[in-house]
């Protein structure tokens, strides 16, 4: 434990100031049971990072605690070296699709415009330039024809793309996505990954909670393995290996599954 701490401190100061998202000692518990325990994470700028781990490993919890949606028991989160509260304008968040009521009286374009609320303030009028921006974000996820639909009429994949368009409207530097590929069709998955890669190529940083191990090497640059504790962190080539995965999944991955991943 002391060794672990010493190593973290050594690398921390420089890496932390540049990192789009750095967590130190993050601990979150539901009742007396920790969901995330003393996790350190240093996201590399300009890369796509996948947060991976088994069910109940605290992947979404970690993301929510970093954003202040959940109050951590202990630990700090910094975004580009400053407290999260001061950097909200640089963060875009795509929550899990199941977290909202899709019968809510709102249209696709209205949801995307929510991404502009911080900019609009309480009373700022929604002007044509804002509508154009929202329409442009919808076009980037291939949903421009659905702008005036009620959100409940969309398929799951389309709903996910609308959430992504809302995040795009924020024009942030750091994109945090909670299970963006859960329960979506193949066309949506392709559209989302194309958008995320274009963000990365434009110098933005993308962090996504991900559950499909087979697509990790194809989609992501870096991997953060978690099972309540941090298991490993680094590039796909370094970290996405059978020993780390078995550590994270506690031997729950069958041999056949491991073979299918064709690990390096």
């Amino acid at each position: 434990m002391t060794l672990e701490l010493a190593r973290t401190r050594e690398t921390a100061p420089t890496a932390r100031a540049d990192s789009p998202l750095a967590l130190r000692g993050m601990t979150v518990s539901y009742g007396q049971k920790p969901a995330v325990f003393s996790v350190d994470m240093t996201v590399e700028p300009g890369k796509m990072t996948a947060i991976i781990g088994p069910n109940g490993a605290g992947k979404s919890t970690l993301l929510k605690a970093a954003l202040g949606i959940l109050t951590p028991l202990a630990g700090t989160a910094t975004v580009y070296g400053k407290p999260v509260a001061e950097q909200r304008h640089r963060i875009a968040y795509v929550p899990q699709r199941a977290s909202v009521d899709w019968d809510f009286p709102t249209r696709v374009i209205d949801v995307v415009l929510m991404g502009l609320y911080p900019q609009l303030g309480l009373l700022g009028r929604i002007r044509p330039v804002h509508r154009a921006r929202a329409a442009d974000c919808l076009a980037r996820v291939g949903m421009e024809d659905f702008a005036t639909r009620q959100i409940g009429q969309l398929s799951g994949g389309q709903q996910q793309r609308v959430f992504l368009a809302r995040a795009l409207a924020q024009d942030a530097d750091l994109y945090l996505l909670d299970e963006p590929f859960a329960g979506v069709d193949a066309a949506t998955e392709k559209a989302i990954i194309a958008v995320l890669k274009s963000l990365r190529d434009a110098g933005k940083t993308v962090v996504a909670v991900h559950h499909d191990l087979s697509t990790v090497p194809e989609y992501f640059d870096n991997v953060f393995l978690i099972n309540t504790h941090r298991v490993a962190e680094g590039s796909v080539a370094e970290v996405f290996k059978s020993n780390h995965l078995q550590d994270a999944y506690g031997g729950r991955l069958a041999g056949a599954q491991m073979d299918a991943l064709q690990l390096s």
């Binding site: 929510k64 963060i91 809510f104 009286p105 709102t106 249209r107 929510m114 924020q170």
Partner: protein, 401 residues
Amino acid sequence: MIWDALTLQLGYNATLVTLGATLLGMAAGVGGTFLFLRKRALVSDAISHATLPGVALAFMVMVALGGDGRNLIGLLLGAALSAGVGLLLVSWLSNRTRLAEDAAIGSVLSVFFGLGIVLLTVIQTMSAGRQAGLEDFLLGSTAGMLRSDALIIAVAAALTLALVLLLRRPLTLASFDPEYGTAIGQNVPRTDLAMMGLVLAVTVVGLKIVGLILIVALLIIPPVTARFWSERTDHVVLISGALGGIAAYIGAALSAAQPNLPTGPIIVLVGFALFALSLLLAPGRGALSALLRHRRYQRRVHLRQGLLALAHGQPIYEQLTLRLLRAEGYALPDGVATKAGRGRAAKALRDETRWQLIRRDPAYEAAAQQYDGLTPIETVLTADQIREIDSRIDMRGGVMA
């Protein structure tokens, strides 16, 4: 008399009361929309019942201090105070104990109301208590309302209305997607608190006119009614405000014309009439339109199945199918296809064959997703695409008409 009341010709006081009630109805409709969208409508019931002990205690304190126990501002302050305590108790019980919110609401509501009734009974036995008229706070009354009372209500309602409109964006976000709201820097707990504060304000201001038992209806019925008419938050808010204003206006005017009628129940009944009309007649979400849509869809399914049965030369047993085929002139009463029927049946079968081919071909993935057995293939594919598909069917020797 009723017409005079509705056209505000019953004198200055009655007019003021009616306008005050209208503003209150608008504030309740607008504020209630967010309560409804946040799925916390019942909290308002706990708040309103929790006002009663405050009203009674305020009366006792004012009498004990030698003042006029009926001073409206004093009574409303007492109401706000005890409603605030009730609200804090509900949120404490549901956040800090294992009690679910509905149980917390039920407990707080009944205990506070019980305490209030006991205090009212005590007041009845006090010498100053007989003329207090505190029972009016239960069901609401505009009779004998002072001009200053009406003015206080009107101003407070207008302020509440303005505040809701000012906070509409945070309120929308907190109702639709609180996690996202937090992520972009909104203080969601504070927004929730503001919403509850608004509801508390509407409740307290409305006590005198609508009464604490029924004020919850003024907060819930208008938004539920408005939801039938629109799929947009801002429109639902505006429609709900208008409906609340109309219900309160008519209710207050009727009760001003007939002083024996309690105001609150009349307002609620008018609101309910608007709700019932919307439930039945609203396009899109209304019951009648849903029924018609379902019937039309069912008929299309039956007709399609009937045509396919004709094409395959199968007998048709379902009466509805047969009746539809006959009505379209596709079949004779004994179920034999007419000439027109044979043509349509062949077309239906050909389309079905085309669809099967499309659904197996990944190149047509987007089009294949629209297959529901009913959509005409011409609306999904271009003429060229259909020709291409048909040429493949010809090569396989498929069924062609």
